[in-house]
């Protein structure tokens, strides 16, 4: 996988707030700042890993990019079109090119539909094939994800988690999209099946020239699959670099802490290595801390600097972005 420098998707200052209503008259009293101004490019053919702990807004980011949540502000430029401004029919047509693989293979397949209908439905609603062609295409897709084409007439509950996730992948591939958001596609699966699904995703990427945004919290899996990696904390991206740089030379104290939590398979190294242990809990995304969001837990935070202003997300080395006052 080689990084080409053709930008497929450009996310600019994307914001998603979920309003909170309270009281008799349901006035808005605040908002969950789930995604609070993220910007990055995704290059054609690459896999951009998006990591962060639970509740940091990475899934919301994925869904907001795909316009499954309406963005509060910001733009998502995909092949020269701003997805955030599209509505109704236009957006529906764009969905042919942008797809999503969901985290939970049990919840994301309609239990009342056969596998064939689930995979074939996108082809039907976008009028891209006749019923007979759809049937052939479904069989072909099932083959591609290593499932028996005869399974098309069965229902999702007859399959295991790994099989269901492969059905979800076949569904996402049905319209031959250019860009797929994989929202923790393996975290609900058994460890033994995770590798299988990840390998499948890699094979399909090579075969169809797909571009992935791979959302995960499993750092070793992200390291395996990603070309570049973005680290998210409390609604913002704190660091973005190519995989090798990020894993060998993380600059942001949060990235350092996150990576130091990954155990090393060598007991000698594991014994000696220094671990950064974060104190306290993630602050509430309803009232995020002023200045740098990470300052409340940061081991090197300086009063007067970190709480004064938001750190800029700047390029410290070519292709290596970080948002920290002290780097």
């Amino acid at each position: 996988m080689e990084t080409q420098n053709e930008v497929l998707l450009k996310v600019d200052n994307l914001v998603k707030h979920f309003p909170i209503y309270r009281g008799v008259f349901q006035r808005q009293v605040g908002a969950v700042h789930a995604v609070d101004g993220i910007s990055f490019d995704v290059y054609k053919g690459e896999t951009l890993g998006l990591v962060g702990e639970s509740g940091c807004g990475k899934s919301t980011a994925g869904r907001t990019i795909l316009q499954l949540y309406k963005p509060t502000s910001g733009s998502v430029d995909f092949q020269g079109v701003d997805l955030a401004t599209l509505k109704g029919e236009e957006l529906r047509h764009m969905r042919k090119k942008i797809q999503m693989i969901f985290q939970d293979p049990y919840a994301s397949l309609n239990p009342r539909m056969t596998v064939g209908d689930i995979i074939g439905e996108p082809l039907m609603v976008h009028n891209v094939a006749t019923p007979k062609e759809i049937e052939e295409r479904v069989a072909d897709l099932l083959n591609k994800v290593n499932l028996n084409p005869a399974f098309a007439s069965r229902y999702p509950h007859e399959f295991s988690g790994g099989q269901r996730q492969r059905i979800g992948i076949a569904r996402a591939l049905a319209l031959q999209p250019d860009f797929i958001v994989c929202d923790e596609p393996i975290s609900a699966l058994d460890v033994s099946i995770q590798a299988q699904v990840v390998n499948l995703l890699e094979d399909l990427q090579a075969q169809f020239g797909l571009t992935y945004l791979f959302i995960a919290h499993d750092l070793s899996m992200v390291r395996h699959i990603s070309t570049r990696v973005a680290v998210m904390y409390l609604g913002i991206i704190v660091e973005l670099a190519d995989r090798k740089t990020l894993y060998t030379n993380p600059l942001h104290p949060y990235s350092q802490a996150l990576l130091s939590a990954v155990p090393v398979a060598d007991p000698v190294v594991e014994e000696k290595r220094k671990r950064v242990i974060l104190e306290g809990d993630v602050p509430s995304p309803v009232n995020p801390p002023s200045g740098c969001r990470f300052r409340t837990r940061c081991p090197i935070a300086k009063p007067g600097v970190c709480d004064a202003s938001k750190p800029e997300f700047r390029e410290v080395d070519p292709g290596h972005f970080v948002a920290c006052h002290l780097v």
Binding site: A107, S108, L109
Partner: protein
């Protein structure tokens, strides 16, 4: 699917046996004297007659002998004719209606069935529609208004709402009348030239080509239909709404949106069918309730269904008729539950395999 239905059918005799046992046991709660006293005109004076009845019908025998006798009846030693026996479909003689209970049910049940059929659409479909719309416009003005409107309906006592309808539509406007049919049309229906294909007046009217009778029958049913629907809408609305809200939050609904389906298809093809599972149960119970006779509604609107007949029998302590109805309604309930189970399997493929 076939095996599923057959398995359910095999359960029917067992359930029926249970129903007869329960009904019989309830009857046994009364002492022999109390039971026979119902048939003696001036009871306290005429105690000898009570003894006679007890001996004649074996009311002092052990309960299993009485149960058996109730099931298969008594053979007349001289003529060999069978007398009674619910297993042979003889439910006894109704004092209040002056005809065998079988006849009474045969006359009354088609009217109840007719009313049930025409109530299903306004009650269930409108209730579901209200619930789905409420869920889609969650906490919006439609949602609030629909919930308010339907809760008022449920809070009304049936007879109060029924009387209000009578006052408004019958007394003031004169649009609809209580009863079953206008008198002269009833005479037409009772003539042999009016062929009773189904015994349901609305359908027979259409099959005989008498649209006027059909419309007249429907216009007599309008008020009961409105009453029955309005008092049930809140239940349907709530069950559908909450189930729909839950379903709309499911990931596969997001999947459907991600596929690029129009919102209309997302709601009506993906969310709604999945949200219907608890509603089918509720609809099943509601239809069973309607088939079992809606006593108050039928009485208020003087509608000759089994509900009003049963109420009359109960008020007059006509035990035989009440028991007959109990068994009949129990039977209807079992059949209706069977249908609900099958519908379940249609709605939810996961049921089919288990």
């Amino acid at each position: 699917m076939t095996t599923f239905i057959i398995r359910r059918l095999l359960l029917v005799p067992l359930l029926l046996f249970g129903v007869t046992i329960i009904i019989f046991m309830m009857l046994q709660l009364l002492s022999p004297v109390e039971r026979s006293a119902l048939y003696v005109r001036d009871f306290p004076k005429n105690e000898k007659a009570v003894d006679g009845i007890i001996r004649r019908y074996g009311l002092d025998k052990p309960f299993y002998e009485q149960y058996w006798r109730w099931l298969v009846g008594i053979k007349d030693p001289v003529s060999g004719e069978r007398n009674g026996g619910i297993l042979f479909g003889d439910l006894g003689y109704s004092r209040t209606a002056s005809q065998p209970v079988n006849e009474l049910i045969k006359n009354r049940f088609p009217n109840t069935l007719d009313l049930t059929i025409w109530t299903i659409a306004p009650m269930i479909l409108v209730g579901i529609w209200l619930g789905v719309q409420s869920a889609i416009h969650h906490n919006g003005w439609f949602d609030q208004a629909a919930r308010m409107f339907s809760i008022i309906g449920t809070s009304f006592p049936t007879f109060v709402f029924g009387l209000m309808l009578l006052m408004f539509f019958y007394a003031n406007l004169g649009w609809f009348s209580p009863g079953r049919l206008t008198d002269d049309l009833m005479q037409v229906v009772n003539k042999p030239t009016f062929i009773k294909y189904t015994s349901l007046i609305t359908f027979d009217a259409l099959l005989n080509g008498r649209v006027d009778i059909f419309l007249d029958a429907i216009s007599h049913m309008v008020m009961p239909i409105i009453t029955l629907s309005y008092i049930s809408w809140a239940t349907f609305l709530r069950v559908t709404r909450s189930s729909m809200l839950e379903t709309l939050r499911m990931e596969y609904v997001t999947t459907a949106r991600a596929k690029g389906l129009p919102e209309r298809d997302v709601i009506y093809k993906h969310a709604q069918p999945n949200a219907m599972i608890p509603v089918v149960t509720l609809a099943g119970f509601s239809v069973v309730g309607l088939l079992g006779g809606v006593t108050i509604t039928e009485t208020v609107f003087n509608y000759p269904g089994i509900g009003s007949a049963a109420a009359r029998a109960a008020v007059n302590l006509d035990v035989v008729t009440v028991l007959g109805f109990a068994i009949f309604i129990g039977f209807i309930l079992i059949v209706a539950n069977l249908v609900t189970d099958v519908l379940y399997a249609v709605v939810d493929p996961r049921v089919r395999l288990s």
